[in-house]
Symmetry: C2
Subunit: 336 residues, 2 copies
């Protein structure tokens, strides 16, 4: 049995830099036609020169693979309309991080004051540059996203022409917001479709499933599944694949992030098939993103075969999701 | 400045066995007059012979220290009145674990059916043997204790003469139950007075603060603090100090448990002083336990000095709570 996905897209991806970039980029480049590349490097990508240099390093890392990195800038409150107009041809979106809420989000926005920030949002609306948002407050870890909903609503209502993407949503409240505001969209990760906080710390503590936003309750996972499996027009796949060396995961201060890129399509196919929704996977992993981002991906059919394979325990020094476990679908021509 | 605590008691302590017992027992034995020793070894302590043999190993481990291990049996549904009568002189309590909810709780009770288990509870009531309970269901990790409240209520109402201790409570709901049922009491750990889930996983993930029941919300911590700081007559200190080798903490499947024994009194003194409640510490760490358990501890004054010290990074291969951090009170004659 085979499944062909036309030009799958990963609309939320961390490729990092340096050696890590060289080690992980190939996995996304092999399975996807393109990906939205997160800008939270150290320092973050806030100018065109750095962005283009990073893009070049990504191309070097993916080598001969046919893969489009859709670049993003790290949102700054002082971006001018003039700068944004110049940046527009090079970027697919701008990513807003509240200060300090996740890996390398220092230098993010202290307070999301729609009035103070309106010049940037107005210019982005005019130029049709989507705004991607890491939507968490600095509150209690289980409440951070829920609390952020008020800010999503304020943004959506204040800038109705701005395309806003609620990144890696994890709560039923965010799913509901999709119906309420036309300009709100969302990415959903693989892991938030599969795990709850019980999987992270209900038994033994599994640092490899520790991510931000943290996985929530069963009813939250159900709401995300409902939207993804039915290929809700306003949701897209974004892996939020975020590699960390095993030494940064199995340690005292474990970094947040799940490395899912190498197994994302396989696990998605298994999940959608299990729920009898395999025919909706194309829409979730590609078509919706084309509509929301108004992008035309390169033509890149990806063939998956129904064939069990065991996920390696590590890729270099990074432990992937489903490490050493068996998956039922395999991307054809995967070399491992 | 000095503080003298008369015969402090730790009413919930894991001393483990073998090398670990030899390494950790001395810390409790030095600072406390006695402790209630948890029976969840592998296999659990369910007969008098094993219990006395374990007690002997504890005495060997504490050597010349003047310290009383108050022994407990692991609750089994088939304990007879005859067996309990024979056991009574050797035990301070019986500890009930629901099956599979924490470290070495396999072989615990599948379903706490008060009717089916009533012969044991009735016999314990008659013999005045306290029942200590690990009160968690198998539900969602944040709800497990809250869900268990119904079982606590049923136990308390069905066996009004049975002294029931809700172990290591973590929620405001359990604090409220203390007022509702005369025969419900509770132990509170040091860590649940200090941390919430935010400290475990709000920033980087800290496996050394991962414990069962997991730390909950701010309002839960506040309710616990209110009871402990005011030396509520129905609450006692129980550290739930639970050592694991660093290799079992900083790893892929991290074991639940915080090793607080070596710093418990120091950190409690700092906490109670910070809240202007230092005069209540004696009641919390000793007097209430004497009343609830009707025990007379050995006479062992413990002197603490207001003197900063840095907690070692490790004791052998076990990382303690507050590792490498500074505490303001020091138990006198501590050698490190």
């Amino acid at each position: 049995m085979r499944l062909i996905l036309n030009s799958p897209l990963d609309m939320h991806l961390h490729l990092r830099d340096g050696d890590m970039l060289k080690n992980v980029a190939k996995f996304s480049a092999k399975d996807f036609a393109g990906a939205l590349i997160m800008p939270n490097l150290l320092p973050p990508i806030t100018d065109i020169k750095s962005l283009l240099a990073y893009k070049k390093r990504i191309f070097e890392a993916v080598r001969e693979e046919n893969f489009t990195p859709h670049m993003t800038l790290f949102f700054k409150s002082d971006y001018t309309a003039d700068f944004l107009e110049k940046a527009k041809p090079y970027i697919a979106a701008i990513k807003l991080y509240p200060n300090g809420v996740t890996t390398n989000s220092e230098g993010g926005i202290e307070q999301i004051d729609t009035k103070r920030l309106s010049p940037v949002f107005e210019a982005m609306s005019e130029l049709d540059i989507p705004l991607c948002v890491h939507g968490e407050t600095n509150g209690f870890v289980m409440d951070r996203e829920r609390e952020f909903c008020a800010i999503y609503e304020q943004l959506a209502a204040s800038f109705p022409k701005l395309t806003i993407i609620m990144e890696h949503i994890t709560t039923k409240e965010c799913v509901k917001l999709l119906e309420k505001h036309e300009n709100l969209h969302a990415t959903i990760t693989l892991h938030h479709l599969l795990i709850t906080l019980d999987d992270v710390m209900g038994g033994l503590l599994n640092p490899h499933l520790f991510c931000k936003p943290i996985a929530k309750r069963y009813e939250d996972k159900e709401a995300l599944l409902e939207a993804a499996l039915n290929a809700h027009k306003k949701v897209m796949f974004g892996s939020d694949s975020a590699p960390h060396l095993v030494s940064k995961k199995e340690c005292c201060g474990c970094a947040a992030g799940i490395f899912s890129a190498p197994i994302a399509l396989s696990a998605l196919a298994e999940l959608f098939e299990k729920h009898g929704k395999l025919t909706n996977l194309q829409t979730f992993v590609s078509d919706n993103a084309r509509d929301i981002y108004k992008l035309i991906p390169i033509n890149k059919p990806i063939v998956l075969e129904k064939k069990e394979w065991i996920v390696p325990a590590k890729f270099d020094d990074v432990v992937p999701m489903f490490a050493s476990q068996t998956l039922k679908w395999k991307v054809k021509s995967r070399l491992n």
